[in-house]
Protein backbone atom coordinates (compact mmCIF):
# COMPACT_ATOMS: atom_id res chain seq x y z
CA UNK A 1 0.00 0.00 0.00
CA UNK A 2 1.23 3.45 -0.96
CA UNK A 3 0.77 6.61 1.16
CA UNK A 4 1.90 10.13 0.25
CA UNK A 5 4.65 11.14 2.65
CA UNK A 6 5.48 14.66 3.78
CA UNK A 7 9.08 14.73 5.14
CA UNK A 8 9.42 18.38 6.25
CA UNK A 9 12.64 20.36 6.46
CA UNK A 10 14.67 18.47 9.03
CA UNK A 11 14.15 14.89 7.91
CA UNK A 12 16.07 15.66 4.75
CA UNK A 13 18.93 17.33 6.64
CA UNK A 14 19.98 16.61 10.24
CA UNK A 15 17.34 13.93 10.88
CA UNK A 16 18.30 11.78 7.91
CA UNK A 17 18.45 8.86 10.33
CA UNK A 18 14.70 9.27 10.93
CA UNK A 19 13.92 9.54 7.20
CA UNK A 20 16.09 6.60 6.10
CA UNK A 21 15.00 4.31 8.92
CA UNK A 22 11.33 5.15 8.32
CA UNK A 23 11.51 4.31 4.62
CA UNK A 24 13.04 0.93 5.47
CA UNK A 25 10.69 0.11 8.36
CA UNK A 26 7.44 1.05 6.67
CA UNK A 27 8.47 -0.77 3.50
CA UNK A 28 9.16 -3.90 5.49
CA UNK A 29 5.67 -3.60 7.01
CA UNK A 30 4.00 -3.25 3.60
CA UNK A 31 3.63 0.53 3.47
CA UNK A 32 5.37 2.43 0.71
CA UNK A 33 6.08 6.02 1.74
CA UNK A 34 5.80 8.07 -1.41
CA UNK A 35 7.44 11.45 -1.00
CA UNK A 36 5.18 14.32 -2.10
CA UNK A 37 6.41 16.20 -5.15
CA UNK A 38 7.06 19.93 -4.66
CA UNK A 39 6.55 19.89 -0.89
CA UNK A 40 7.52 23.00 1.05
CA UNK A 41 8.38 23.71 4.67
CA UNK A 42 5.19 23.91 6.76
CA UNK A 43 6.62 26.70 8.92
CA UNK A 44 7.14 24.26 11.85
CA UNK A 45 4.83 26.15 14.23
CA UNK A 46 1.10 26.76 13.90
CA UNK A 47 0.26 30.47 13.98
CA UNK A 48 -1.93 31.26 16.94
CA UNK A 49 -3.21 34.78 16.35
CA UNK A 50 -6.66 35.26 14.86
CA UNK A 51 -5.61 37.64 12.08
CA UNK A 52 -2.52 35.79 10.89
CA UNK A 53 -3.82 33.82 7.92
CA UNK A 54 -0.69 34.15 5.80
CA UNK A 55 1.20 31.60 7.82
CA UNK A 56 -1.39 28.92 7.12
CA UNK A 57 -0.60 29.04 3.41
CA UNK A 58 2.55 26.92 3.73
CA UNK A 59 0.92 23.94 5.46
CA UNK A 60 -2.20 24.11 3.28
CA UNK A 61 -0.15 24.17 0.06
CA UNK A 62 1.28 20.80 1.06
CA UNK A 63 -2.22 19.42 1.48
CA UNK A 64 -3.04 20.73 -2.01
CA UNK A 65 -0.03 18.74 -3.29
CA UNK A 66 -1.65 15.66 -1.71
CA UNK A 67 -4.94 16.26 -3.53
CA UNK A 68 -3.02 16.74 -6.78
CA UNK A 69 -1.77 13.17 -6.35
CA UNK A 70 -5.37 12.01 -6.26
CA UNK A 71 -4.89 11.00 -2.62
CA UNK A 72 -6.98 11.80 0.44
CA UNK A 73 -4.41 11.23 3.17
CA UNK A 74 -0.83 12.11 3.95
CA UNK A 75 1.58 10.79 6.54
CA UNK A 76 4.29 12.74 8.30
CA UNK A 77 6.80 11.60 10.90
CA UNK A 78 7.90 14.83 12.56
CA UNK A 79 5.71 15.85 15.49
CA UNK A 80 5.93 19.54 14.64
CA UNK A 81 4.97 19.02 11.00
CA UNK A 82 2.13 16.79 12.08
CA UNK A 83 0.84 19.40 14.51
CA UNK A 84 1.09 22.30 12.06
CA UNK A 85 -0.52 20.44 9.16
CA UNK A 86 -3.29 18.99 11.34
CA UNK A 87 -4.13 22.26 13.08
CA UNK A 88 -4.19 24.28 9.84
CA UNK A 89 -6.36 21.61 8.26
CA UNK A 90 -8.77 21.77 11.18
CA UNK A 91 -8.96 25.54 10.90
CA UNK A 92 -9.83 25.30 7.19
CA UNK A 93 -12.50 22.68 7.93
CA UNK A 94 -14.13 24.78 10.62
CA UNK A 95 -14.03 28.28 9.17
CA UNK A 96 -15.60 28.82 5.78
CA UNK A 97 -14.73 32.50 5.52
CA UNK A 98 -11.05 31.87 6.21
CA UNK A 99 -11.07 28.94 3.81
CA UNK A 100 -12.30 31.20 0.98
CA UNK A 101 -9.76 33.86 1.86
CA UNK A 102 -6.88 31.37 1.89
CA UNK A 103 -7.97 29.91 -1.43
CA UNK A 104 -8.07 33.41 -2.87
CA UNK A 105 -4.51 34.02 -1.71
CA UNK A 106 -3.54 30.87 -3.58
CA UNK A 107 -5.46 31.69 -6.75
CA UNK A 108 -2.71 30.17 -8.90
CA UNK A 109 -3.27 26.73 -7.40
CA UNK A 110 -5.51 24.54 -9.54
CA UNK A 111 -7.05 22.81 -6.55
CA UNK A 112 -9.41 24.76 -4.28
CA UNK A 113 -8.72 23.24 -0.91
CA UNK A 114 -11.58 22.49 1.46
CA UNK A 115 -9.98 20.44 4.22
CA UNK A 116 -10.66 16.92 2.92
CA UNK A 117 -7.15 15.50 3.27
CA UNK A 118 -6.57 13.40 6.37
CA UNK A 119 -3.30 14.21 8.14
CA UNK A 120 -1.77 11.12 9.73
CA UNK A 121 1.24 10.63 11.96
CA UNK A 122 3.59 7.71 11.35
CA UNK A 123 2.73 6.23 14.76
CA UNK A 124 -1.00 6.11 14.05
CA UNK A 125 -0.27 4.44 10.71
CA UNK A 126 1.51 1.65 12.60
CA UNK A 127 -1.31 1.33 15.12
CA UNK A 128 -4.34 1.68 12.84
CA UNK A 129 -3.24 0.56 9.39
CA UNK A 130 -0.50 -2.00 10.00
CA UNK A 131 -1.61 -3.21 13.44
CA UNK A 132 0.58 -4.27 16.34
CA UNK A 133 -0.15 -7.97 15.80
CA UNK A 134 1.31 -7.81 12.32
CA UNK A 135 4.37 -5.92 13.59
CA UNK A 136 4.85 -8.54 16.30
CA UNK A 137 4.76 -11.34 13.74
CA UNK A 138 7.52 -9.64 11.71
CA UNK A 139 9.99 -9.17 14.59
CA UNK A 140 13.19 -11.04 13.67
CA UNK A 141 15.49 -9.92 16.47
CA UNK A 142 13.43 -9.35 19.62
CA UNK A 143 14.92 -6.73 21.92
CA UNK A 144 14.53 -8.88 25.01
CA UNK A 145 15.80 -7.26 28.17
CA UNK A 146 16.04 -3.76 26.69
CA UNK A 147 14.24 -1.08 28.71
CA UNK A 148 12.84 1.71 26.59
CA UNK A 149 11.28 5.01 27.68
CA UNK A 150 8.89 6.67 25.24
CA UNK A 151 9.21 10.44 25.13
CA UNK A 152 6.18 12.12 23.56
CA UNK A 153 7.00 15.77 24.14
CA UNK A 154 4.28 18.29 23.42
CA UNK A 155 3.01 18.42 19.89
CA UNK A 156 1.93 14.81 19.34
CA UNK A 157 -0.51 15.22 22.21
CA UNK A 158 -1.58 18.83 22.35
CA UNK A 159 -3.88 20.54 21.69
CA UNK A 160 -6.29 17.66 22.23
CA UNK A 161 -8.10 18.29 18.93
CA UNK A 162 -5.10 16.90 17.06
CA UNK A 163 -3.84 14.48 19.73
CA UNK A 164 -2.87 11.04 18.41
CA UNK A 165 -3.76 9.33 21.71
CA UNK A 166 -4.86 10.31 25.22
CA UNK A 167 -3.35 13.79 25.86
CA UNK A 168 -2.35 13.09 29.48
CA UNK A 169 -1.76 9.31 29.55
CA UNK A 170 -0.75 8.18 26.09
CA UNK A 171 0.26 4.56 25.44
CA UNK A 172 0.71 4.45 21.66
CA UNK A 173 4.53 4.38 21.83
CA UNK A 174 4.65 2.01 24.82
CA UNK A 175 2.42 -0.42 22.91
CA UNK A 176 4.78 -0.18 19.97
CA UNK A 177 7.81 -0.81 22.21
CA UNK A 178 6.17 -3.97 23.56
CA UNK A 179 5.76 -5.41 20.04
CA UNK A 180 9.56 -5.46 19.73
CA UNK A 181 10.01 -7.60 22.82
CA UNK A 182 11.53 -4.70 24.76
CA UNK A 183 10.14 -3.50 28.05
CA UNK A 184 8.32 -0.14 28.01
CA UNK A 185 9.32 2.02 30.96
CA UNK A 186 6.78 4.72 31.80
CA UNK A 187 8.34 7.82 33.36
CA UNK A 188 6.85 11.06 34.64
CA UNK A 189 8.49 13.37 32.08
CA UNK A 190 7.16 11.47 29.04
CA UNK A 191 4.80 14.23 27.92
CA UNK A 192 6.61 17.22 29.36
CA UNK A 193 7.99 19.67 26.82
CA UNK A 194 11.78 19.88 26.33
CA UNK A 195 11.38 23.64 25.70
CA UNK A 196 11.61 23.13 21.97
CA UNK A 197 12.92 26.15 20.01
CA UNK A 198 14.19 27.80 23.20
CA UNK A 199 17.29 25.78 22.31
CA UNK A 200 18.21 28.69 20.01
CA UNK A 201 17.33 31.65 22.21
CA UNK A 202 17.76 30.28 25.73
CA UNK A 203 19.93 27.19 25.68
CA UNK A 204 20.19 27.07 29.48
CA UNK A 205 16.55 26.17 30.04
CA UNK A 206 16.84 23.36 27.48
CA UNK A 207 19.94 22.04 29.25
CA UNK A 208 17.98 21.95 32.52
CA UNK A 209 14.97 20.28 30.86
CA UNK A 210 17.17 17.74 29.09
CA UNK A 211 18.82 16.90 32.37
CA UNK A 212 15.47 16.41 34.13
CA UNK A 213 13.98 14.33 31.33
CA UNK A 214 16.99 12.09 30.70
CA UNK A 215 17.73 11.56 34.39
CA UNK A 216 14.09 10.78 35.15
CA UNK A 217 14.03 8.14 32.38
CA UNK A 218 17.21 6.60 33.81
CA UNK A 219 15.86 6.68 37.36
CA UNK A 220 12.95 4.58 36.14
CA UNK A 221 15.41 2.10 34.66
CA UNK A 222 15.46 3.04 30.97
CA UNK A 223 18.43 2.10 28.77
CA UNK A 224 17.28 4.24 25.86
CA UNK A 225 14.70 6.94 25.04
CA UNK A 226 12.67 6.97 21.83
CA UNK A 227 10.95 9.96 20.25
CA UNK A 228 9.32 11.06 17.01
CA UNK A 229 10.37 14.69 16.85
CA UNK A 230 13.69 15.88 15.35
CA UNK A 231 13.75 18.87 17.70
CA UNK A 232 13.15 16.75 20.81
CA UNK A 233 15.82 14.39 19.51
CA UNK A 234 18.32 17.22 19.09
CA UNK A 235 17.56 18.66 22.53
CA UNK A 236 17.65 15.33 24.36
CA UNK A 237 20.56 13.82 22.43
CA UNK A 238 23.00 16.60 21.45
CA UNK A 239 22.30 18.82 24.43
CA UNK A 240 23.39 16.06 26.80
CA UNK A 241 26.99 17.10 26.05
CA UNK A 242 26.18 20.51 27.56
CA UNK A 243 24.42 18.83 30.48
CA UNK A 244 27.58 16.83 31.10
CA UNK A 245 29.67 20.01 30.99
CA UNK A 246 27.47 21.70 33.58
CA UNK A 247 26.80 18.61 35.72
CA UNK A 248 29.84 16.30 35.51
CA UNK A 249 27.96 13.47 37.28
CA UNK A 250 25.48 13.21 34.39
CA UNK A 251 25.35 9.79 32.74
CA UNK A 252 24.50 9.75 29.02
CA UNK A 253 21.50 7.86 27.72
CA UNK A 254 21.06 7.24 23.97
CA UNK A 255 18.05 8.78 22.20
CA UNK A 256 16.61 7.09 19.11
CA UNK A 257 13.76 7.67 16.69
CA UNK A 258 11.05 5.08 17.13
CA UNK A 259 11.71 3.87 13.58
CA UNK A 260 15.34 3.11 14.41
CA UNK A 261 14.35 0.93 17.37
CA UNK A 262 11.67 -0.84 15.38
CA UNK A 263 14.04 -1.30 12.44
CA UNK A 264 16.56 -2.99 14.70
CA UNK A 265 13.90 -5.42 15.97
CA UNK A 266 12.71 -6.10 12.43
CA UNK A 267 16.28 -7.15 11.62
CA UNK A 268 16.85 -4.44 9.01
CA UNK A 269 20.42 -3.77 7.83
CA UNK A 270 22.28 -1.36 10.12
CA UNK A 271 23.15 0.97 7.27
CA UNK A 272 19.46 1.82 6.76
CA UNK A 273 19.04 2.74 10.44
CA UNK A 274 21.84 5.32 10.44
CA UNK A 275 22.88 5.05 14.09
CA UNK A 276 25.98 7.01 13.02
CA UNK A 277 23.89 10.20 13.02
CA UNK A 278 22.74 9.92 16.64
CA UNK A 279 24.96 12.00 18.87
CA UNK A 280 25.23 9.54 21.75
CA UNK A 281 26.31 6.25 20.29
CA UNK A 282 23.43 3.74 20.66
CA UNK A 283 25.28 0.79 19.17
CA UNK A 284 26.43 -0.39 22.60
CA UNK A 285 22.78 -1.17 23.39
CA UNK A 286 22.47 -3.89 20.84
CA UNK A 287 25.71 -5.79 21.51
Amino acid sequence: MEIPYYPGCTLKTTAKNFDDSAFAVYKKLGIELKELPRWNCCGTVYSLTSDDLMHHLAPIRNLIRVEEQGADQVVTLCSMCYNTLAQSNLRIQQNEEERDKLNEFMYKEKVKYDGKVKVLHGLTVLRDMVGYDKIKSQIKKPLDGLKVAAYYGCLLLRPKEVCIDDPESPTIMEDLIRTTGAEAVPFPYANECCCSYETVSNKDIVIERTRMITQSAQAYGADVIITSCPLCEFNLDNRQKEVRKKYPDHVDIPVLYYTQLLGKALGLPLKSLRFDLNYINPRELFK
Partner: protein, 134 residues
Protein backbone atom coordinates in the same frame (compact mmCIF):
# COMPACT_ATOMS: atom_id res chain seq x y z
CA UNK B 1 -19.29 68.40 4.53
CA UNK B 2 -16.37 67.65 6.73
CA UNK B 3 -16.87 65.19 9.52
CA UNK B 4 -14.33 65.15 12.27
CA UNK B 5 -14.03 61.87 14.09
CA UNK B 6 -12.48 62.05 17.47
CA UNK B 7 -11.12 58.93 19.08
CA UNK B 8 -11.21 59.28 22.81
CA UNK B 9 -8.56 56.77 23.69
CA UNK B 10 -6.22 54.23 22.23
CA UNK B 11 -7.17 50.58 22.23
CA UNK B 12 -5.98 49.10 25.50
CA UNK B 13 -3.54 46.22 25.65
CA UNK B 14 -6.30 44.02 27.00
CA UNK B 15 -8.52 44.79 24.01
CA UNK B 16 -5.67 44.19 21.57
CA UNK B 17 -4.82 40.87 23.19
CA UNK B 18 -8.45 39.77 23.24
CA UNK B 19 -8.80 40.64 19.58
CA UNK B 20 -5.60 38.88 18.50
CA UNK B 21 -6.10 35.81 20.65
CA UNK B 22 -9.86 35.49 20.47
CA UNK B 23 -9.79 34.73 24.21
CA UNK B 24 -11.81 36.26 27.03
CA UNK B 25 -9.31 37.14 29.75
CA UNK B 26 -12.04 37.50 32.35
CA UNK B 27 -12.58 33.75 32.29
CA UNK B 28 -9.33 33.22 34.22
CA UNK B 29 -9.88 32.81 37.97
CA UNK B 30 -6.19 32.68 38.86
CA UNK B 31 -6.00 29.09 40.04
CA UNK B 32 -2.41 28.83 38.80
CA UNK B 33 -2.72 25.45 37.14
CA UNK B 34 -1.10 26.87 34.00
CA UNK B 35 1.95 27.88 36.02
CA UNK B 36 2.04 24.54 37.83
CA UNK B 37 2.64 22.60 34.60
CA UNK B 38 4.73 25.11 32.69
CA UNK B 39 8.10 23.66 31.56
CA UNK B 40 9.65 27.11 30.98
CA UNK B 41 8.73 28.65 34.31
CA UNK B 42 12.31 28.63 35.58
CA UNK B 43 13.27 31.27 33.01
CA UNK B 44 10.22 33.50 33.49
CA UNK B 45 9.96 36.71 35.49
CA UNK B 46 6.15 36.74 35.51
CA UNK B 47 4.55 33.33 35.99
CA UNK B 48 1.93 32.46 33.35
CA UNK B 49 -1.21 33.27 35.40
CA UNK B 50 0.35 36.59 36.40
CA UNK B 51 0.56 37.56 32.73
CA UNK B 52 -3.24 37.40 32.52
CA UNK B 53 -3.62 39.34 35.72
CA UNK B 54 -1.14 42.03 34.75
CA UNK B 55 -2.98 42.62 31.47
CA UNK B 56 -6.26 42.94 33.38
CA UNK B 57 -4.65 45.46 35.72
CA UNK B 58 -3.34 47.53 32.83
CA UNK B 59 0.33 46.87 33.63
CA UNK B 60 1.10 46.92 29.92
CA UNK B 61 4.82 47.71 29.98
CA UNK B 62 5.56 45.09 32.62
CA UNK B 63 3.90 42.43 30.47
CA UNK B 64 5.29 43.51 27.10
CA UNK B 65 8.83 43.82 28.49
CA UNK B 66 8.71 40.58 30.46
CA UNK B 67 10.98 37.63 29.74
CA UNK B 68 7.97 35.38 30.08
CA UNK B 69 6.47 35.93 26.63
CA UNK B 70 9.74 34.81 25.00
CA UNK B 71 10.29 31.93 27.41
CA UNK B 72 6.95 30.33 26.49
CA UNK B 73 7.64 27.35 24.22
CA UNK B 74 4.03 27.04 22.99
CA UNK B 75 3.77 23.47 24.27
CA UNK B 76 0.03 23.80 25.04
CA UNK B 77 0.31 22.16 28.47
CA UNK B 78 -1.43 25.12 30.15
CA UNK B 79 -4.33 25.26 27.70
CA UNK B 80 -4.73 21.49 27.90
CA UNK B 81 -5.11 21.67 31.68
CA UNK B 82 -6.93 25.00 32.22
CA UNK B 83 -10.22 24.29 34.04
CA UNK B 84 -11.77 27.39 32.48
CA UNK B 85 -10.66 26.66 28.93
CA UNK B 86 -8.46 29.72 28.60
CA UNK B 87 -6.01 29.33 25.74
CA UNK B 88 -2.94 30.93 27.27
CA UNK B 89 -0.57 30.03 24.39
CA UNK B 90 -2.76 32.24 22.18
CA UNK B 91 -2.48 35.09 24.68
CA UNK B 92 1.32 34.68 24.82
CA UNK B 93 1.49 34.64 21.03
CA UNK B 94 -0.59 37.83 20.84
CA UNK B 95 1.83 39.58 23.18
CA UNK B 96 4.80 38.39 21.12
CA UNK B 97 3.09 39.55 17.95
CA UNK B 98 2.37 43.00 19.42
CA UNK B 99 6.12 43.37 20.00
CA UNK B 100 7.25 41.73 16.77
CA UNK B 101 4.92 43.82 14.62
CA UNK B 102 6.93 46.83 15.70
CA UNK B 103 9.99 45.30 14.04
CA UNK B 104 11.48 43.98 17.26
CA UNK B 105 13.80 41.00 16.82
CA UNK B 106 14.51 38.99 19.92
CA UNK B 107 16.57 36.52 17.93
CA UNK B 108 18.36 37.26 14.70
CA UNK B 109 20.36 34.92 12.51
CA UNK B 110 23.24 37.40 12.38
CA UNK B 111 23.78 37.09 16.09
CA UNK B 112 24.19 33.33 16.04
CA UNK B 113 27.76 32.08 15.99
CA UNK B 114 28.87 30.06 12.95
CA UNK B 115 29.13 27.03 15.26
CA UNK B 116 25.53 27.44 16.39
CA UNK B 117 24.35 27.83 12.82
CA UNK B 118 26.14 24.63 11.87
CA UNK B 119 24.91 22.68 14.85
CA UNK B 120 21.26 23.72 15.18
CA UNK B 121 18.77 21.73 13.12
CA UNK B 122 16.57 23.55 10.59
CA UNK B 123 13.48 22.87 12.64
CA UNK B 124 14.91 24.78 15.62
CA UNK B 125 15.97 27.80 13.58
CA UNK B 126 12.73 28.07 11.62
CA UNK B 127 10.49 27.71 14.67
CA UNK B 128 12.50 30.10 16.83
CA UNK B 129 12.69 32.76 14.14
CA UNK B 130 8.98 32.38 13.43
CA UNK B 131 8.23 33.06 17.09
CA UNK B 132 10.88 35.63 17.92
CA UNK B 133 11.67 37.77 14.89
CA UNK B 134 9.72 40.18 12.74
Amino acid sequence: MKVKLKIDREESLREKVEELSGENLLKCYQCGRCSGGCPSIASMDLIPNQVNRYIMLGLDEEVLNSKTIWACASCFTCSQRCPKGVNLPKIMESLRQIRIRKNVDIVSVDELTPKERMELPTIALVSCLRKMSS
